[in-house]
Symmetry: D2
Subunit: 119 residues, 4 copies
């Protein structure tokens, strides 16, 4: 219940404070960690076809590995947002509003061309 | 105000569905996008000292760029979780429980050594 | 015409020295830059099918973008190797020898399973 | 002797051909692998201060890990260049020429500001 992003953020801050890890968590280190964990997430799909990925997603062991990686990404994301004073919900709402303007439905339907390249 | 992670996820799914972008959003592509956006986040800190980063964080323009990048990471994270059937809140709670066991407070205080290397 | 890796390394060192950029090039920053450039390389393929990529590779503008990204990756790679005292040719030869042992031809033919998972 | 980049490329192609791994090595997969390996390289520096990194670089075990990661990056780089028909030496020379123009010595000395932001 309540706000899950803020709940995760509070849990991570408490976890980190208990271990005195705050000293390592400057924005640059956290951005490195975020990028590294996103790379580990990608590694779970490397060399695989869509069919193999569909099959792997039926495998509880693979699912657990993926779940752990996504949690790691989320954890560094909320810590980085906290350290830099960014409200993730607000950031998301603003970005989505801008994206709606940049990628008008009628021009972008079924088209992944980056908005800078849309005529 | 409700569950923010699920709210963001619903907003992203609606945004994507309106543009018929669902066809591009297989897990592998989304994991690529997640990793690319995390790299763009890291780029905002590249070559900078802690002092410069502190100063940049007082700059509204920099803050907006960072806010947008964190939103992008969040958006691909919730889309990837949705496509692979992973509940991010549950994933976070499980991972945090395991991390608490792997990094006992007394052994890891002030020490960033990876748990695999803790004696 | 001589050793191309060492030539590229020398050219990058001279370029950097002329701009007094050596001060920014500690190993951690260079590893960040390497990772960011690799992410930008990946972005050139994002959302695209094999067919679209084949087509893009016929497009001189796309080819130039890709060429520039690969050059960036190479440049940070040789600078990082230089700063950390690693001989890339030797590193490559050693790694390839180990990989040959870890992935015996008869067991790994047509199989991308990571060697740790090969029975 | 000879051209080390082309030598590494030939060695990797032979290694891959012997295992029939060519089928996995489309440009997108190789770009993913490149990005993942660059992330693993970065992980070797995560949470560490300059002083710790200096110390680690005296440690043969750390040095070997780093050497292996740099070799992995190099290997996927030469394979990706091969698959996309890009000559890395030429790409490097062109990029360096452009960078010399974009970052004139007198304006960029001691200044890491991205050229787009140089006045």
């Amino acid at each position: 219940m309540g706000n899950s992003l803020k709940n995760v953020q509070q849990a991570m801050k408490a976890f980190s404070a208990a271990r005195d890890w705050d000293q390592f968590h400057d924005p640059k280190n956290l951005a490195e960690a975020l990028s590294i964990e996103a790379g580990e997430t990608l590694e779970l799909f490397l060399w695989k076809t869509k069919e193999q990925i569909e099959k792997d997603l039926q495998n509880p062991e693979f699912k657990k590995e993926l779940s752990d990686e996504l949690a790691d990404v989320l954890h560094y994301l909320v810590l980085l947002a906290d350290k830099t004073g960014i409200d993730l919900e607000k950031a998301s709402a603003e970005k989505l509003k801008e994206a709606s303007r940049r990628y008008p439905v009628e021009k972008s339907r079924g088209n992944a061309t980056k908005y800078t390249k849309l005529t």
